[in-house]
């Protein structure tokens, strides 16, 4: 008997007390769910405020802009303030977001030559996101257009993430149906952090140590 058959047989024996009503597959939807799908209500402005608050609470640096036309100014300024000489650019990032990046800044387009080792010497990365969750202060990336492969937002030390109003949801239960589990996802709540040394929180061990969020209000 293969180990697979052995383990499955052991499980069936172990569950001798569980009645098997029929041959039909079990129905997980039958499990009662009395919890809320949101703790925040429906007002988009309130949800956006909560997102900004919770992002900041987890030590992301939040920048508010009025509308999408102001993104370029914010991104250009943040890269300049940081003194970034190189910026990684995912496929499908809106070109006008980088319209005001200083002329001397080198742009590195995503591609096979952008290996982890190469990314290790890249100063910053600019991306969009798939969903942002207000109640937990979480940004979800799913490697789609404008977000890049996972390594792009992992190896450089500085990540600027732009959130559009339509991408914001209140809660985790509202986020999951919007996400495709077949895509690789990275849920980010604040920058990399550890509390392993006497429970003192230290920002940044391996992921980007600085997370800046550009939140578009309208």
């Amino acid at each position: 008997m293969s180990s697979r058959e052995q383990v499955l047989a052991r499980i069936r024996t172990a569950l001798a007390d569980v009645p098997r009503e029929s041959e039909a597959a079990p129905d997980p939807a039958a499990v009662p769910r009395g919890y809320r799908t949101t703790h925040t209500g429906e007002d988009p402005a309130a949800i956006r405020e909560l997102l900004a608050e919770n992002l900041a609470d987890y030590r992301a640096i939040v920048h508010r802009v009025g509308d999408e036309s102001e993104v370029a100014g914010a991104v250009g300024r943040l890269l300049a303030e940081r003194g970034s000489k190189t910026v990684a650019v995912p496929d499908g990032l809106p070109a006008d977001w980088l319209a005001e990046v200083a002329a001397g800044t080198e742009r590195l387009a995503e591609g096979p030559e952008l290996t982890a080792r190469r990314l290790d010497s890249v100063d910053s990365v600019v991306t969009g996101c798939a969903v942002a969750i207000a109640e937990t202060g979480t940004i979800v990336l799913d490697a789609a257009e404008g977000q890049g492969r996972r390594r792009l937002t992992l190896v450089p030390d500085h990540h600027i993430c732009v959130i559009r109003p339509g991408q914001i949801v209140a809660s985790v239960p509202q986020a999951l149906p919007r996400l495709d589990p077949r895509r690789p996802q990275t849920w980010i709540s604040g920058p990399s952090a550890t509390s392993d040394i006497e429970l003192d929180r230290v920002e940044g061990v391996h992921g980007p140590r600085t997370l800046e969020v550009v939140l578009i209000d309208d």
Binding site: S3, R4, Q6, V7, L8, R10, I11, T13, A14, L15, V18, A25, P26, P28, A30, V31, P32, R33, G34, Y35, R36, H39, N54, Y58, P112, A116, E135, T136, A143, R149, R150, R151, L154, V172, L176, P181, R182, R183, P184, Q185, T186, W187, I188, S189, G190, S192, A193, T194, S195, D196, I197, E198, L199, D200, V202, G204, V205, H206, G207, P208
Partner: protein, 486 residues
């Protein structure tokens, strides 16, 4: 201490030495109280916590009751997504499979993200025997590994070490494993974290093989989920060419949507955060993004025995949040090492003897490493009735270790008592735990404590024993001066 749990002394003996360690106890008390208070606040933010907890419990129970179905579904989904699934009946087989998979890549180094399952099967030791170096990359696990030590807490494995001890370990040992600690390293946490960052980055950038566990696996889609804080998980899960995930069969959940419950329950119960800094999900392999070869090793290793025990099976609901450790007065005093397995604290006291059986003296002593105060049950996000299982396991121990359901608990308690007098080590554990709890423990457990089943019957029918006057510490001190050993 050697890096293996095999041959660990029984709980009371191990606790005897660990409770003497003042530094350890100070570290532990600080840690457990801090996390405990933060957790209470994080939980209080959600007014539907009770409903979430109930849903978490029910989803897990539903899955366990149809575990064969969901595992087969998971296997099909992972395979369809480009992964390969392997089944391991026990630790030895799991280690053999992983060793072979690493060998097939031609590599002799792997990077690891913290995983309870691989600790449980002692994978690092098995790989070392095969000439493969496994590097732990979680900061705390790195501290433990460099210090040739063992983890002592599920969430913060190096919590028994303070900052100056960590600095010494980094200075002494980093150079032997790779990039040495920077000159003049101080004990500031930020500097220590930076030293770890530099040391490990070297390994991440050259690693070809990553090994992980998983917090959840989704049967419907074949998705694996890992929650972490530092980003070392992301490094291990995305940079290598080959990823091997070693996961206990109980970690499966039916649907993607079920994550909405557990992504709320786990971070708040564990690190007391609304959400942990990083969660990674992956489904098989993705073109050009992340590892192009993915293996899932499904591990039984005693889980099916646990499943067969209708009272004890609820331990398989555990999502390893560690909340029960932080409220446990016995854990706080004894420390994690005394439990002699990857799973310390209250969950260790019920899970380990079920996974390994109660034949050894250590495993037989674990169900007694508790005061039955019930705090662990109160905080458990999936409502595992740890006191009920403890009482049940004491019965099993008393009867010689077999699976015997349906005996009257009263009789079992009497038999346990008799057995205890014949087994001084275990009796010592009970007495010491009780002594440590004097002043904290009422003569009878609170009536409102919702203890179902045997534990309730036990509680309702008996007073707790009179506790000795003497404090735990004083008793130790005198005992040590007398030079008595066990």
């Amino acid at each position: 201490m050697s890096r293996t749990f095999v041959g660990m002394p029984p709980f009371p003996t191990a606790a005897r030495s660990s409770t003497k360690d003042g530094q350890l106890r100070a570290n532990l008390t600080h840690a457990t109280h801090t996390i405990r208070d933060k957790r209470a606040k994080a939980v209080a933010e959600l007014d539907d916590w009770a409903e979430l907890r109930e849903a978490g419990k029910r989803i897990k129970d539903h899955t366990l009751r149809h575990l064969d179905h969901y595992l087969e579904q998971l296997e099909a989904s992972v395979t369809a997504a480009g992964g390969q699934v392997h089944w391991a009946a026990d630790a030895a087989e799991a280690n053999r499979i992983v060793t072979e998979l690493v060998r097939a890549t031609g590599e002799t180094e792997v990077v690891k993200v913290k995983s309870m399952a691989t600790q449980e099967i002692e994978l690092n030791e098995a790989l070392a025997k095969a000439g493969i170096s496994a590097y732990e990359t979680d900061l705390a696990e790195l501290i433990v590994q460099l210090g040739d030590d063992l983890p002592s807490h599920i969430l913060v494995p190096a919590i028994h070490k303070n900052r100056s001890e960590i600095r010494d370990i980094f200075q002494d040992a980093m150079g032997r494993w790779g990039r040495p600690a920077p000159e003049g390293l101080t004990d500031r946490p930020a500097e220590l974290a930076e030293a770890a960052r530099l040391h490990l980055r070297e390994k991440f950038l050259r690693a070809k093989v990553g090994i992980s566990g998983a917090n959840f696996m989704i049967a419907e889609t074949g998705t694996l989920v890992v929650l972490e804080s530092e980003g070392n998980g992301r490094m291990c899960l995305t940079l290598p060419e080959t990823l091997i995930s070693v996961v206990g069969i109980e970690k499966v959940l039916p649907r993607w949507q079920d994550l909405e419950v557990f992504l709320q329950l786990l971070p708040r119960s564990s690190t007391a955060e609304r959400m942990n800094p990083y969660t990674s999900t992956w489904t098989g392999t993705s073109d050009g993004d992340g590892p192009q070869r993915f293996h899932l090793v499904l591990v039984d290793n005693g889980r099916t025995d646990t499943l067969a025990d209708t009272v004890g099976r609820q331990a398989l609901r555990c999502i390893r949040c560690s909340a029960c450790l932080n409220v446990c007065p016995v854990y706080e005093r004894a420390g994690g090492h005394a439990y002699g397995s990857a799973y310390p604290g209250p969950i260790g006291a019920i899970l380990t003897p079920q996974l390994r059986g109660v034949e050894s003296e250590l495993d037989a002593s674990l169900p007694y490493a508790s005061s039955l105060c019930g705090a662990c049950y109160e905080v458990c996000p999936v409502a595992i009735d740890i006191p009920e299982v403890l009482v049940h396991l004491r019965e099993r121990v008393a009867e010689g270790g077999g699976h015997r359901d349906g005996h009257r608990v009263e009789g079992a308690v009497m038999r346990a008592t008799t057995w205890l007098f014949d087994h001084p080590a275990a009796l010592g554990a009970v007495e010491r735990a009780a002594g440590a709890m004097r002043g904290l423990v009422p003569r009878r457990l609170p009536e409102k404590l919702p203890l179902p089943g045997p534990a309730k019957a036990w509680n309702d029918s008996r007073d707790l024993p009179e506790l000795p006057e003497e404090s735990f510490r004083d008793w130790w001190k005198k005992r040590e001066q007398r030079g008595s050993g066990e």
